[in-house]
Symmetry: C2
């Protein structure tokens, strides 16, 4: 069915159980969908923008209150909305990383962290992962010291993912933040896979910046995200412009340099705000999400030759699975090759796995009901049995 011109209607979420690894937390709530319709037009939130003319000060719709709540939600003092988590990384890197300065991230960090550092002129250095694909405070402390010797100065910044995008493994954020603090290294908490789906308290973790993604984990349209910090760092990170017209003597008041003024002026911020009450509520139910996800993990583990590459027991709903010795063996001789597997999933109303993938792949059960997870679990075991792979 066509939406208009050559654009087909997207119906994946309506027609399938979608286990795509990156889409689970960004599905809109019904409230967000209504807000997106009501505020779809470009500058729709600017109807009542009054002095000092800044997005986070608008009272109607109540963007000012939303910004305050957002800061509290991640346990920080000040928050701003950004066009994606990556733009939050960029703002922090631009503020704290001088040209040539070393910046730490990890062996599991997302490419957007590397790009933000590159754009700022910094030099990326990785903290190694351990044999269990986890980043430990010991490894972080050792790398801080090593980099400090190499560059004759401590790293300008340290990025740490609470849960990484590759395995969905949990890393020692609090302890790493402690090690960084001992060396005076500011810490950016990458909450792309946490803020909006599980409780996050930045101050309690001892981090300096919390970055979250609206379209990844806050049930919001893209691009959207949150950048939050402490009162102390807000002075630099959210500094207002000092630019001045040399002829006109114009000044630009309260506009924040790293935000380039206003960021999300319509559907995106309204989607975030409309979803926010449900998002605040849903983070309290993370335990149920994990329990549901484990049903699927247990089913996959029961399939002969299948290995969960993520840490066990699972502490996140995003997991990496290795089926090279199960479904991929079937693919070797199946007439549909690798497509037999994703085809069989599609026949059962399951989508979100890259067509043809049978080797190492990721999935995410976030937001699925217990019943859907049970269905998904039996779909995997049924497909295995049908193809003669031992189960149990």
């Amino acid at each position: 069915m066509r939406c208009s011109g050559d654009i087909e209607v997207r119906d994946l979420e309506e027609l399938a159980i979608n286990i795509d690894p990156i889409q689970a937390g960004g599905r809109l709530t019904p409230e967000a969908m209504k807000a997106v319709i009501a505020y779809g037009d470009g500058y729709s939130v600017c109807d009542n923008c009054r002095k000092p003319f800044r997005l986070d000060q608008i009272k109607k719709p109540p963007l000012d209150a939303f910004h305050r709540e957002l800061a509290g939600f991640v346990g920080m003092d000040e928050a701003r909305v950004m066009p994606g988590a990556r733009r939050g990384f960029q703002a922090v890197a631009d503020t704290y990383v001088e040209k040539g300065a070393p910046v730490l991230l990890t062996a599991l960090s997302h490419y957007t962290g590397f790009l933000a550092i590159e754009a700022a002129g910094g030099v990326p250095r990785e903290i190694p992962k351990d044999r269990n694909n986890r980043i430990t405070a010991d490894a972080a402390a050792a790398r801080i010291e090593e980099v400090t010797r190499e560059f004759g100065r401590p790293p300008a910044l340290l990025f740490i993912d609470h849960f990484d995008y590759q395995f969905g493994n949990e890393h020692e954020v609090r302890e790493i933040a402690g090690a960084a603090r001992a060396h005076d290294v500011p810490v950016l908490y990458n909450g792309a896979y946490t803020v909006g789906i599980l409780p996050v308290d930045g101050k309690e973790l001892g981090v300096d910046f919390v970055v979250g993604s609206g379209h990844k984990s806050m049930a919001s349209p893209a691009p959207s995200g949150v950048l939050a910090t402490t009162r102390e760092h807000a002075v630099d990170l959210f500094r207002t412009t000092r630019a001045r017209g040399d002829l006109t003597k114009r000044e630009f008041g309260v506009k924040e340099v790293e935000l380039l003024g206003c960021t999300l002026m319509g559907a995106t911020i309204m989607g975030m705000m409309a979803s926010f009450p449900r998002v605040k509520e849903r983070v309290k139910h993370w335990g149920e999400e994990l329990a549901n996800g484990r049903i699927v993990i247990d089913a996959l583990r029961s399939i002969g030759g299948t290995a969960i590459l993520s840490e066990l027991p699972r502490k996140h709903t995003l997991s990496r699975v290795d089926t090279r010795n199960s479904f991929d063996k079937i693919a070797e001789t199946h007439k549909k090759r690798g497509y037999f597997f994703t085809g069989a999933l599609a026949d059962r109303g399951i989508g979100g796995v890259i067509p043809g993938a049978t080797r190492v792949w990721k999935f995410n059960t976030y937001g699925l009901t217990r019943q859907q997870c049970e269905y998904l679990a039996s779909a995997f075991t049924d497909i295995a049995r049908e193809n003669g792979i031992p189960v149990g």
Copy 2:
């Protein structure tokens, strides 16, 4: 009426003729509204993202073809979508402006240009406006030479608005680009008030970069925009990452540094794309838009004491008007003070003027029908007559 929680439904466009200066070109088309509903979920366009995993290469929905058409639409070789025109300014400034380098913009430039320069560490210098509030090539050439003497080097970049946001006046883009070229200064064409509402051909104008705003002038949700350039400059501006994990040896392939990878992964790009056929068509009807706008301008000019501060005849639908000697005189003694004027407009179903404004204000008739403009024109003259201001 509430949309959800404390969010009221926005009904300005449904209930009123909206003459807000910045909202006119960003109202969604029906096609965009449908696309926003179908693709509201966070990473909705990523369903069929395959190698090399980049937004502008996605074939379904046809984002790849859209990107190519977008480049052609503004007369350039390569185009990317950005989270707003300001993020386009930032990408260009970050690429071409070294710390301490002078950058030219104009006495009428928007604050976002100043912020992009400030973020890149550049030093802004303004090209003066003439007595008619226009930027001329003579003034640009003189300032290029002056700045070159001051800094011992030519400006790293020159920003020029085709039409500025203050008066909606047209500036000598082609001639300014010629002067800049003679001094080897790259030119950024700010098309926030042109791309999507009137025909723009960057190469024909001789500029190096064309920046447009989706939510301001391309009937798209915020934040969205376009950044286009020549094949020559694309090599630098759209450079792919050279970052590398020092331990993992990871590389990040085709990801573009200034874009931080992908930019608009859902509702925003789908809104842009769905509106695009109508946008391509509507730029051909700019003459009708101007004719409609002049009906309103003529009515305002017929009101005693009212002055149009923008150039005449109007070449844009955004205009600045001075009613200090007409409506503001009434406000001095009216029991509702300045609110009498915007109240009288509201009584007639006209919105978009800041409540209480009676001194110097802006409005935009873009997208209104001839009949709506005639209605608007008589509303202004009726309000004048009712309050004893001579008309005619």
